[in-house]
Symmetry: C2
């Protein structure tokens, strides 16, 4: 039979990236396509020690129904950390635990958007966010991205052309997929624009701790005195382990209470054992020491990737030198068709994501592709780049 | 500032039960209000042993990003179990893992309902489901409940009066809150009605294994040959531990693929460690032995509750003798106002949920209340019933 699929969901199609990731499960295919953190960075022994402790000392806390807002001790620990290290003001803001930052995107969209309303997004941006917005029947208005963050002129014109613009979704630090870091000046200008035009900002910061070069830039949330304009999303996926599915959202109290109701109707609460693991990890050990180790790992991987590209593809591919995050955004000469290039690569044993997958309109021309350097080994990085170089030659 | 809350979410109010549950956290208040399984039934040592094993042998499986559809081994194990013990046919159906059955309700509603469409529900029914439906701007059409399941005449008239009726949400076994078990004859009649009127059925079965009396009745899903009419929800919350947040949905393949896309946009995938714990629990030990122990625990608790009510409230309260589940549905004489009664009880140290909380329209008159017997200890059960008896006297 054919099912009466809702309008908002019927328009949501599986994306190009899903098709490519199917190849990635082939052990003969090297994947530069995923966004997985490096498995070797997971602090397995510490997680095992914490888990054994919890299940011995307070199994009910880990196993019985709990609060939709999240495990109280973790919320307190995170508030302290975010206030101290990220300058976030909690006087009129509340932190809620979510099942990954993805759920934060979902709940914020559900609470703020009716079908037909508009969300402004960077072009390109995170596919998972685009699909969540689409799943609520929301219109997407792309804003051009420059080397120091989005174009303010493009933001203005996107806003002017939008029906009920509800919020701007932005990843200001080590943007996925572009790697762009929005400058402090632009962060302030974006916040000023939002204030002047009654627009909200959804700041997604999954990669912020993974800096491998340069100086930290304050979050937009920390610039937002009063905290009523910016909704902030964070996650343990990249700094601890993604399969724990623990993220968090910080929003002004009156919005947070609505998000908590939405959370309750969605999955009651997030897995408690995982929340306790996150809390114990933050309180028992020095998280900054752990983050420094992650940064060293990714600095080395990024360097290996850049060196291999310079060596095998020098002059043929341009890319933005990464300051952090997990990705390189590479661009090929205009005469190379990107879908054709990515298809030839995957057939030769290398999975890549074509840049158009990160556009609101996938049919738009794009001469870039995204390369992930956190998942592959050093050997795979070099071999993958060699495959890319071979395929580029076939276009000569 | 005031936030532009979406139409669907702005109409969702915190329910009466949430207000009452606030009192429940007071250690001096005995709670008959919750729906928690008994913490003493959690197989803590087994969960600890499994967890230690996983984190030693295959930490990446427990910690790295995984598939939205769920941990493959758990899906296989569940399909085998459901086919063998529940007669569910998987030839054209797919099982997906969800973050509790609550997320199954959420995803099904999101995929099948546009705002203004109608969901038919039993009257009374599970508040968490009602709030999920409300959170998508769906209209609710209540169907009267009788001792052997919903009224077929009421089902017909609810369907006739409904705008775009999409599905019937039903808990046919040990219904929450009423404890009703839908008879086999009515299950077949409901399925026939759904077939004749192009209606889908969302069968929620969280309590099915907790039988304490009488003979099992087949699930509606097992009666649905071809499996295209019934979407089935199950959960580990009541048979293993709720804070794992592992449930599952079984649907015809074409609908399941849509649900998987919705799942991906919501939380990417459910916590992996919890999924592996569920799978190992089902494969390493005899789950039926574990379920028999749960049944013995709840049989004893239900008996204690019924005996206390008979002793202290005999002739004043009528109730349906439970065949399973976690609840008693009690009814008081018409002259006692239920909200007043529950308020007086909570002030005297006993939290109860007034029956109207389980109605689509909470303002409708209701002379019943729900009593949970799984959470309180034997002593608390007796003491709580004594408080009820005292309060009933104040209405004389």
């Amino acid at each position: 039979m054919s099912y009466p699929i809702s309008h908002k969901m019927s328009t949501l199609k599986p994306s190009v990236i899903r098709e490519i990731l199917k190849y990635s499960s082939d052990p003969n295919v090297i994947s530069f396509a995923a966004g997985n953190p490096a498995s070797e960075t997971f602090p397995v022994e510490k997680i095992a020690a914490i888990t054994a402790d919890i299940l011995q000392k307070d199994p009910t806390a880990a196993l019985q129904y709990s609060l939709s807002e999240g495990y109280p001790a973790l919320r307190t620990t995170l508030e302290r950390w975010l206030a101290q290290d990220y300058g976030i003001d909690f006087s009129e803001n509340t932190l809620l635990i979510t099942s990954g930052a993805q759920q934060g995107i979902d709940l914020v969209t559900k609470c703020l958007c009716d079908e037909g309303d508009t969300v402004l997004v960077e072009k390109p941006t995170f596919i998972g966010a685009l699909n969540t917005f689409r799943s609520y029947g929301v219109q997407l208005a792309p804003v051009e991205l420059e080397d120091d963050g989005l174009s303010l002129a493009s933001l203005r014109s996107a806003w002017e052309g939008a029906h009920n613009p509800r919020f701007l979704y932005i990843i200001p630090t080590f943007q996925n997929p572009s790697g762009v870091v929005t400058s402090l000046q632009k962060r302030q200008a974006i916040l000023d624009f939002a204030r002047a035009h009654d627009l909200l900002i959804l700041e997604d910061n999954p990669y912020g701790d993974l800096r491998i070069d340069g100086e930290p830039v304050p979050t937009i949330k920390s610039l937002d005195r009063g905290g009523d304009r910016v909704i902030y999303l964070g996650s343990f996926s990249k700094i601890l382990a993604p399969a724990l599915r623990v993220g968090f959202v910080v929003a002004r109290d009156e919005l947070a209470s609505k998000l908590a109701v939405a959370k309750q109707t969605t999955d009651v609460h997030s897995n408690s054992l995982a929340q306790i693991i996150c809390n114990e990890f933050l309180t028992r050990w020095d998280v900054n020491e752990h983050i420094a180790r992650l940064q060293a790992t990714y600095r080395k991987k990024a360097q290996t990737m850049c060196e291999a590209i310079d060596r095998y593809l020098g002059g043929k591919v341009t890319y933005r030198k990464p300051q952090g995050g997990l990705f390189l955004w590479c661009t090929l000469p205009d005469e190379i068709d990107m879908l054709d290039f990515c298809e030839r690569c995957v057939k030769a044993g290398l999975a890549l994501v074509p840049g158009s997958a990160f556009y609101t309109d996938e049919s738009q021309p794009c001469h870039s592709f995204r390369v992930n350097y956190s998942t592959p080994s050093d050997e795979e990085i070099v071999k993958g780049v060699q495959i890319m170089a071979e395929i580029v030659k076939t276009f000569a």
